[in-house]
């Protein structure tokens, strides 16, 4: 009896989770990403991209973008239902340090993961790619 109760509880939990997920509304908006980028501490935002003079950095970053980011932000940075486009004023005006800081920290509430699992060099390569698209 206890076993059945627990199995039912697990199923109900899963059902509630799915129901909660189904009710979510996702809207694409620039103000949120602007706030997120602006949240970088001053010293972090002031950092220069150490790969700025590397001619291959943007190409490598493009490869990483296609692998890790394009499924949500769109292959051409145009955005999707799930995440905003990155050809925006907020991203265009952000410093390299702010973008790298945001990639590393993410913003959990909005679904943007922390990409701290990517080595720092790869995050800077992605920054190079994004800035090459300005």
């Amino acid at each position: 009896m206890r076993r059945i109760t627990l199995a039912c509880a697990a199923c109900v939990g899963l059902g509630l989770a799915a129901a909660a997920a189904m009710t979510s509304e996702i809207e694409i908006g620039d103000p949120e990403i602007h706030l997120s980028l602006a949240g970088a501490p001053t010293d972090q935002g002031a950092r220069e991209n150490p790969l700025a003079s590397d001619p291959n950095a943007a190409r490598a970053g493009g490869k990483l973008y296609a692998r890790h980011c394009a499924s949500c932000h769109g292959a051409d940075l145009q955005g999707t239902r799930r995440a905003p486009g990155l050809r925006t004023e907020a991203v265009g005006q952000a410093s390299a340090g702010e973008i790298e800081w945001f990639l590393r920290n993410g913003r959990m509430r909005t679904g943007m993961p922390s990409w701290s699992g990517l080595p720092e060099a790869r995050r800077w390569q992605i920054v190079s790619f994004l800035q090459s698209k300005r």
């Binding site: 206890r2 076993r3 627990l6 199995a7 509880a9 697990a10 939990g13 899963l14 989770a17 799915a18 909660a20 997920a21 189904m22 979510s24 509304e25 996702i26 809207e27 694409i28 908006g29 949120e32 990403i33 291959n56 190409r59 490598a60 970053g61 490869k63 990483l64 296609a66 692998r67 890790h68 394009a70 499924s71 949500c72 999707t80 799930r82 995440a83 905003p84 590393r104 920290n105 993410g106 913003r107 959990m108 509430r109 909005t110 679904g111 943007m112 993961p113 922390s114 990409w115 701290s116 699992g117 990517l118 080595p119 720092e120 060099a121 790869r122 390569q125």
Partner: protein
């Protein structure tokens, strides 16, 4: 009917291949969550030959879904086949992981809650707790499959990313719902990609696609008898290869460190990830 098929086809068209930050470990968890709306399928065979028992091949199928940036849910199905004995479905487990703090911190905590319903014949060794030992793996299927096990498992997962390294520490507590005392265990992992920067050209065999490391896991006794004596411990080198955009292969030989441990467990993992599979909680507003 046609309408239903068209709907399914439309959904399938939205699904994309995605590559997340896959953990290299088999037993230890790191602090990275599944991307919201992404589904990961993973098949993980385990091969072993405990002293005094027959060789076996066990496996778990893992279905992982990112419900939110802070919430990942997983369902596991396990089975095994033992030479000269039988092939069995050994149970299921349902787990949820909750990332507590936003952002990247020196140490990132994640809470893990799991319910498991299975039999004593399970041989996947997805964690080691209490006084788990190789006699459990050597017991005949006809005997061990008669023993049902319902357990609740809690983990505190701590993870850090420093200089390309991932370091993860798991504290494990398991409570049997049949009135047995709490059992405790641990899992530690460290891993690093072979190249920190990506090369500009697409490549399959370049160093950046490989991650190597090791994990250490074992039992710590039970409530009222916390000890290393009589417990099992394993040291397991791990290598992970990101074969393609969505596919990861992992390999890990786990070496038993004590007489209670099985001498060797060989683990193989095949993971495939789909992005944008379904709904999620939260989003850009």
């Amino acid at each position: 009917m046609l309408r239903a098929l068209l709907s399914i086809a439309a959904c399938a068209a939205c699904v994309t291949l995605a590559s997340a930050q896959e953990r290299a470990y088999f037993v230890a968890y790191d602090h990275h969550m599944e991307e919201p709306g992404s589904l990961e399928l993973s098949l993980n065979p385990v091969f072993g030959h405990p002293e005094g028992g027959n060789a076996f091949a066990a496996a778990w199928l893992e279905v992982e879904y990112g419900l939110a940036g802070w919430w990942t849910s997983e369902l596991y199905l396990t089975g095994q086949t033992t030479r000269d004995e039988s092939t069995l479905f050994t149970g299921w487990r349902f787990e949820n992981r909750f990332r507590i703090l936003d952002g990247d911190r020196p140490v990132n905590p994640v809470l893990y809650v799991e319910y498991e319903d299975g039999t004593g014949a399970a041989k996947t060794v997805q964690e080691v707790v209490g006084f788990d030992n190789q006699e459990d793996l050597a017991a005949p299927n006809a005997e061990s499959s008669q023993r049902t096990e319902q357990e609740v498992e809690l983990k505190l997962i701590l993870g850090s990313d420093v200089g390309g390294w991932n370091v993860s520490e798991n504290a494990i507590a398991v409570k049997s719902l049949h009135g047995e005392p709490w059992e405790f265990g641990y899992a530690l992992g460290a891993s690093r990609p072979l190249a920190l920067a990506a090369s500009p050209a697409p490549c399959r065999f370049c160093l950046e696609n490989f991650r190597v490391g090791a994990e250490l896991y074992g039992g710590l006794g039970e409530q009222g008898n916390l000890t290393l004596s009589g417990t099992s411990h394993y040291l397991a080198p791990v290598v992970s290869w990101e074969v393609g955009k969505a596919t990861t292969l992992r390999l890990s030989p786990a070496f038993g460190l004590t007489s209670s441990s099985a001498p060797l467990l060989l683990r193989i993992g095949f993971t495939y990830e789909f992005g944008n599979v379904g709904p999620r909680i939260g989003g850009w507003r």
